[in-house]
Amino acid sequence: MQKYSVFSLIKNAFKGHKDWEVAWKDPTPKSEYDVIIIGGGGHGLATAYYLAKEHNITKVAIIEKGWIGGGNVGRNTTIIRSNYMHDENGLFSEFGMDLWRSMSQDLNFNVMFSPRGIINLAHSDAQMNVYSRRGNSMRLNGIDAVLLNREEVRKIIPMADFSENVRFPIFGGLMQPSAGTARHDAVAWGYARQADSMGVDIIQNCEVTGFDVSNGKILGIRTSKGDIKAKKIGLCVAGSTNILAEKLNMTLPIETHLLQACVSEPIKPILDNVVTFGAGHFYCSQSDKGEMVMGGDLDGYNSYAQRGNLPTLQHVLTEGIAMFPFLSKLKMLRTWGGIMDMSMDGSPIIDKTHINGLYLNCGWCYGGFKATPASGWTFAHTIAQDRPHELNAGYSLNRFNTGHLIDEKGLGTKTWIS
């Protein structure tokens, strides 16, 4: 594989950029693989990469219905954080933060990881107490957390609404300085390029139409490009998990919902951090191009539509303007929607299933992008060793049956309430 560096850039510049190698190949599927990963998004590509890198399993195919990186890894708001209270979520995400910090070097691909810090705003004394508890829990797990008072928040984001007569005055906030953003497409492309170079077949425009299961064991898949046998199969298709589960006669603790995001027209740099509104559900950062990147609530009812509905967007942006009044002056550049696996406790599932050789990676709710490296790493371990790693042991499929829920937000099973 051609190494990307300033020298290769200069060398190719003199040749008119005509000699760059393809970043990944376009192979026809073989008849059999050791492992098939269904879903060529961030998590699927990362899983294939870590299977090859950490476990030396390279007879691997990624089967993608559309094109790689065309799903939620290309539709998110690029936020990376580990500011969770529960041990399972905190330790898993903080392991991921370490992978994020070294990702550009590891993949030889600039993913533009920018640890600019995230601030969750608090709008009451009670909320300050909750944040102080969460911050302490984070610090016990080795995650950085700083509780800010009103004046400290004002120093960082003076453009927020600090006037006296507002409905939700800013009391302070909880900051994770090491959180940040990354270039989402680069993450997919970086993993794809490395996986391809280690022998993984990336098969695009290939839809899975069925599964070959016999005596409780998975034997292979049926696709639009023919049948493919495999010893092990991993599902990484957040948003479409219920559709594939139906083909396997499985019913999962997941509902499929639509989440919208949007960007404003580009403006000069004003916001250095990621900021979330504490009296509703709104988050905001500024991209390198200058666009304000914004998101918030689900549309609020089961949906596979991949396009949003105006009442939710209006509601979310009303919260945004309550937090940053200057947003009302901006024009909207783009809005889009993606479909989410909303699990029944708000936490993901990375586990084996009752079918021998079939593994499940799903239920990422709003938070799949930041989990990409840790999800791929732990899912690769689960598939290779046929047992979960301790980092994803809590994300079991049967926790709903046994009552070991990881309900970070305390929302229960009403996934559309946020």
């Binding site: 219920n242 019913t251 999962l252 009812y301 089961n302 949906s303 509905n309 009442p311 049956n401």
Partner: protein, 88 residues
Amino acid sequence: MLHIKCPHCGLRSQNEFSYGGDATVKRPELNKEISDQDWDNFVYLRKSPRGKHLELWQHISGCRQWIKVERDTLTHEIFKTLKANEEV
């Protein structure tokens, strides 16, 4: 914006309603022996189909009644609305 025909009030905008989820799940009968699996099915497991979905909505800013709506989760077409105690 969805337009939902409330069986009590007629055609109204979506933002008068609040969502109540899958209308096909059945609570296990009271005072009967119930397995963990029965509870699991009722509380957590959902088909979440792509296509026709029978779901509950409450006309919260109108008559406040719960209703059933049969809606396509891909196209948002609404096929039928019913009172909460009616079957499809």
